[in-house]
């Protein structure tokens, strides 16, 4: 059973990650190529084509790794949801769940610290930018997790008036994120990039990330609910 849960997470991650890697090469890499050209021209060099080919090959491997990483996280949360409500393990819930995780772990951090193509970030500030990005992501993730657990507690203790609780939980999350948005320091690097590359890159990044999460949600919930790989104990009442 333990092996099955890990295997399902890896399988869903590899399948989603392979598609994600190919999508990135099709939709994100063209913007990165243009940004790398600009980056090279600024220092008076030409683009190292062989190096870029190697990095594009790395994008397939990295896609698989992203699928495995995010699918592992998804399965941790999905298994907890399944333990709370075994009959609620459905494909629709898997997809909704994946959408929520994308909102919390991609979109929220991106509103404060948007994805940038190469030639935008200063290599000297990489550790600083990483620390503020992960802090903001952790605030969003921990707040969402804590509020989701609180919601479960409230439903158990108080029973009905579910929608009032949902509104209160969403409002609390929004308040935490608004406060964090105001309090967290900005990315101080100068954004010096063609507007069409910047916007196109950010839209492509958000879209492929969303598809990755949705694929993980779809494939994981399909494997959980339709294959018998994850067995749940059934008994007559």
């Amino acid at each position: 059973m333990i092996l099955n849960i890990v295997a399902v997470a890896l399988l869903a991650g590899i399948a989603s990650g392979a598609i994600y890697g190919l999508m990135n090469i099709a939709f994100v890499t063209p913007y990165i190529d243009r940004a790398v050209e600009i980056e090279s021209s600024r220092v008076g060099e030409s683009v190292d084509i062989a190096y870029r080919v190697w990095q594009k090959q790395g994008a397939i491997l990295a896609g698989l790794l992203a699928g495995i990483a995010y699918s592992s996280l998804f399965s941790i949360v999905y298994a907890y949801m399944g333990s709370r409500n075994p009959q609620g393990i459905t494909i629709m819930r898997g997809i909704i769940f994946a959408l929520i995780i994308w909102l919390v772990l991609y979109l929220m951090p991106a509103l404060k610290y948007p994805a940038n193509p190469p030639a935008v970030g200063d290599p000297e500030t990489i550790y600083y930018r990483q620390s503020i990005y992960i802090t903001y992501m952790l605030i969003s993730g921990i707040a969402a997790l804590a509020l989701a657990l609180l919601r479960i507690k409230l439903v158990t203790v108080m029973g009905s008036s579910r929608y009032i609780k949902d509104v209160a939980i969403i409002a609390s999350y929004a308040l935490i994120m608004i406060a964090s948005y105001i309090l967290m320091p900005p990315n101080q690097d100068t954004i010096d990039m063609d507007e069409d590359i910047l916007v196109g890159f950010r839209v492509a990044s958000a879209t492929t990330s969303l598809v990755l999460w949705l694929l993980i949600g779809l494939i994981t919930s399909l494997l959980w609910s339709r294959t018998g790989l994850i067995r749940r104990r059934m008994s007559m009442l």
């Binding site: 790395g58 990483a69 592992s72 298994a79 951090p109 190469p118 990044s205 990330s209």
Partner: protein, 74 residues
Amino acid sequence: MNDDSSNKQMIKVEFKYPLLAIAVLAVIFTFTSFALGYDQGQLLSIVFGEQAYDENFLHELFHDTRHALGFPCH
């Protein structure tokens, strides 16, 4: 007239939170997400020492996807 509901039996479905599987997945998540999104030579420095920080192999290999996922990069 029979009440149909009296003939139906309720089925209870149980699923225990698999802590060991979760621990394994947490390790996989931590390692892969660090390698993919944050490593600046740290992982390979275990084997190659200071040279790993200069070459920054994983950063360069995962470069495009690191940007695509929204992680900070240069």
